[in-house]
């Protein structure tokens, strides 16, 4: 016998102001199998929940409907309430009369009528609810960190320090990422290398970390606790254990190209380490550039390698590994500001980006730390910084603020004033955003040193003789301004990696309209994704500076450790299930399953005295995430989804219609 209790929440006046809750209560009492109806000011409050527990006991309720807010808000809360009253938590159904009704409609009569339909639906569905039980999945306590920038390094170290094995995968030949390219960091002006390099070395030497550089994730299968990941380890053409990193090979290599690490400002060879502090400090051969790979002749590096470490015949290897958790820390790219033709980037060599300037200032950069004009090598006397190139510009760039640019521009101005006595610097800005510990003071220091902040956009940069003319507007003075500059530095936006969406699809996580990976909740679950077991760290989730990135790396590691603290995970029981008597074994359900949770098995059946064996589908409840795509592929309806069964949805349709 079904005994349904209906609990109607007023949500203060949030619901009650628009929906006539007393009338709704009267209506609900007449619905089939409803034996108890109650109204609460706040059903989710402790007294509200206590009322439910009491009613379950007193009225022997075995089904509960709560008409309140969205189940996405409080379904877990009320499930717990049921459980604490010894009722299976899946015998609950919520009617969303707040987000879907009282908040979006004004007419009281209409809203109340709609609320009646919503309650009717919930009552109809809950009748067909069955007790469900969570299943448990063993956890493989080994983590994969994708991306070897500061976020990935931090996450890997924190996981490894907790005693769990980590594989750190990096696409480039070295870890270090963007931070390795920077000279100093704001607001303390620590040398970036000095604080990063030890961490890179720690990561490489940690007994629990396997460092796989020059490698990429190709395929991800499985589920939380048991991800199967295919990783392509690209051929470095170097035997890493034999190589001593002596450098003879790249000294002698005749093939040159612009060094990506220096953004093309310096040169590298075909066999190279990206920068002197690279980890691992072993070269790789760029096969697209290498003369031997192009023509079959050369082998100079091999001749000069006394360790015999050059192995041209190496092949890419694809390895398949199992992990319990994955941290995505793939970072960002610079906005392609070629769309700002008026700033003359690419046309005038003295228009550069902030990252270029980092390389120019860096003591280990192509100019040995001397800031020179790319055009003629002269020391610049006047430098103009243009903020928000791409950021906060819906027409040509992205709508968001890239967060770090205001501060790194202040840093650049400070460093230029320190390096070049008498330099004048101008910063064209929209707003200065200096929200962070010590940030405002840092910005003030830039101004004290002489950086002139001009509030307004730059309209045009053009060459006049040897100089760059920067035309802009000072909106505070309401006047047009012109600066003759030697160097123009663009603060380009931080954007998602161009291939972030493809990685998101591989991982099965979502991304926003800008291509940044989406966190499970913007405030409360900032490093989790909607896919259990996959976490985010750093700028792949959105633009951020180094302190925030490191914090997120640590946070993601904490989440992984949290997961690894358990031997088994409890899996949601709302999964697909097969009625074997109905299943024909056609297995057309199988290709629709994204988790490879469906397989076939042989069953025996007694039929007219004979034992028949036949194939039927079977679902691995640990793998199944409960999407239900298979249920529609099944014509018989032998494949059904617990919690969203065919019977239930049909009953809901019947109940919700007029």
């Amino acid at each position: 016998m079904k005994r349904v209790g209906v609990f109607l929440c007023w949500c203060g006046s949030n619901i009650a102001a628009t929906v006539d809750v007393p009338a709704l209560a009267e209506y609900a009492a007449k619905l089939p199998n409803v034996v108890y109806v109650e109204q609460n000011k706040y059903t989710c409050s402790e007294p509200g929940q206590e009322q439910i527990r009491k009613a379950i006991a007193e009225h022997r309720l075995n089904r509960v409907v709560v008409a309140a807010c969205s189940p996405r808000m409080h379904e877990t809360t009320f499930r717990r309430t049921l459980a604490s009253a010894s009722l299976n938590p899946y015998l609950l159904e919520m009617a969303n009369v707040r987000e879907h009704c009282s908040w979006v409609h004004q007419d009281r009569a209409e809203a109340t009528a709609k609320a009646r339909a919503l309650v009717r639906r919930a009552v109809a569905k809950v009748q067909l609810a069955r007790p469900l039980f969570q299943s448990s999945i063993p956890v493989n306590r080994r983590a994969l960190v994708i991306g070897g920038g500061i976020a990935g390094i931090q996450a890997a170290l924190d996981i490894a320090d907790s005693g769990h094995k980590v594989v750190l995968v990096e696409r480039e030949p070295t870890i270090g990422g963007r931070m390795a390219q920077l000279d100093k960091t704001f607001p303390t002006l620590d040398c970036s290398s000095c604080i990063l390099t030890p961490k890179m070395v720690d990561a490489a030497q940690h007994e629990n970390i396997q460092l796989w550089t020059y490698s990429e994730v190709e395929e991800v299968g499985g589920y939380v606790g048991n991800f199967q990941v295919k990783i392509r380890r690209r051929a470095t053409s170097i035997n890493a254990s034999a190589c001593t990193g002596c450098g003879a090979c790249w000294e002698k290599c005749p093939a040159k190209t612009g060094n990506e690490f220096d953004l093309g400002l310096g040169q590298r060879k075909a066999i190279y380490v990206p920068f002197p502090q690279a980890v691992p400090n072993k070269p790789v051969i760029d096969r697209d550039l290498c003369i031997y790979f192009k023509t079959g002749r050369c082998r100079i590096c091999q001749r000069f390698c006394t360790a015999g470490a050059v192995e041209f015949e190496q092949q890419d290897v694809v390895v398949e590994e199992t992990f319990g958790a994955i941290v995505a820390a793939t970072g960002f790219e610079q906005f392609d500001h070629a769309v700002y033709g008026e700033y003359g980037y690419g046309k005038h060599p003295d228009v550069i980006t902030g990252l270029h300037l980092e390389r120019l200032i860096s003591a280990s950069g192509p100019s040995d730390g001397k800031v020179k004009r790319p055009s003629n090598g002269a020391v610049p006397e006047t430098v103009v910084f243009v903020q928000c190139v791409g950021s906060r510009d819906e027409a040509k760039g992205v709508s968001y603020c890239s967060r770090a640019c205001c501060m790194y521009t202040a840093k650049h101005a400070i460093m230029l004033h320190e390096k070049i006595p008498g330099v004048s610097t101008f910063v064209f800005y929209i707003d200065v955003r200096a929200a962070g510990k010590g940030y405002e003071e840092f910005y003030a220091r830039a101004q004290e040193l002489g950086a002139q902040y001009v509030r307004g956009r730059v309209a045009r940069v053009y060459q006049r003789g040897d100089k760059l003319v920067v035309m802009g507007e000072d909106t505070l003075l309401g006047a047009k301004v012109q600066v003759e500059a030697d160097l123009v530095v663009l603060a380009t936006a931080m954007t998602a990696r161009h291939d972030a969406q493809s990685l998101a699809r591989t991982l099965g996580i979502s991304y926003d309209q800008n291509g940044f990976f989406t966190e499970a909740h913007p405030k409360l679950r900032p490093v989790e994704t909607n896919t259990a077991g996959i976490f985010l760290a750093g700028a792949c989730q959105g633009p951020k500076d180094i302190p925030d990135t490191v914090a997120q790396g640590t946070a993601a590691a904490a989440k992984v450790n949290n997961l690894f603290a358990k031997e088994n995970l409890l899996a949601e029981p709302t999964v697909a299930t097969v009625n074997e008597a109905w299943c024909s074994g056609c297995l057309w359900c199988k290709p629709t399953c994204p988790y490879r949770a469906i397989d076939s098995k042989t069953i025996s059946q007694r039929q007219v005295g004979k034992i028949l064996t036949r194939q039927v589908a079977t679902v691995n409840a640990g793998l199944c995430q409960g999407c239900g795509a298979c249920t529609v592929a099944c014509r018989t309806g032998a494949m059904n989804l617990l919690g969203f069964s065919n019977e239930q949805i049909l009953a809901e349709v019947d109940a919700i219609c007029p």
């Binding site: 109905w582 024909s584 057309w588 019977e647």
Partner: protein, 315 residues
Amino acid sequence: MTAWLDALRDHVREFLSEPGVDVFIGYRAGRRGREVPAFLTRPEQASGLVLGPAASGALAKYVLEEAAGTTGRLGVLARGCEALSLQRLVRDLRVERERLHVVGVPCAGVADLAKLEASLGALEKVESCGERWLVTAGGNRHDVDPSQFMEERCRDCASPWPQQCNISFGQAVMSPASPDYSTVAALEALPADERYAFWIRQFERCLRCFACRQVCPACSCVECSLDLVDPPWLGREITVPAQAMFHYTRALHVAGRCVDCGQCQKVCPVGIPVALLNRKLARDIQELFDVQNPFVPGEIEPLGKFRAEDREEFM
């Protein structure tokens, strides 16, 4: 008499002599000029095999009953549509391909026996003779133009020659490049209300005898959802909307798997143009999902896969 029939009989005789063979399914002469399914288990029965325009049934689905609970090999005679039906059953994992011995034969269309009987009297024998049919009916022999008396489904047959057979007899025939959807297009040209009225006129005649389902090679479920009381997909009430639901569901269930054998329409006792539903879905599948011929069973059914760049109409 068809030239290759003796060779066919010899082949079947040999087949039935092989160890591990359970049955050969073909046609034998029946009463009133009919040719009816025959289930041969002994070599000597092979001489009774016939195949003419009067063999208007479909053999493929009998394989299911014969295969259940047995392990031996099954021989089956297959014309174009029957060969596709067998492929369908194999793809739906209802029978293992290795168990089947498919004997392909050409087909130039089967006779609409009711129509022949109506115009010529009680049938005694229907034979094909070159391009013509020789019909013995009402005590007389008639030389008949097949195009006058051919079953409708055979007129625009897209698969006259059986594919993927173990052996075949007779001369191969070219298949048309694409199935013919002109009947679908004609109906689509009507205004919505007229189309609705048309279908309601069809559906209200439905007896829900399920003959269309029983005969269909794509409807081979152990249990049919339309028979179930719970969940009430269809319900027991006989109303026109429920009849519509039945036909909608049946058509969608075979969408992407229909082989256009036309049996569903042929067996309908009240003449509902069931195949017109199947063909509409097939045409759309062909167009929307770039399927070359939706009636030929593929590796994965078109609704069991997707392409990220599939047509987007729902933004």
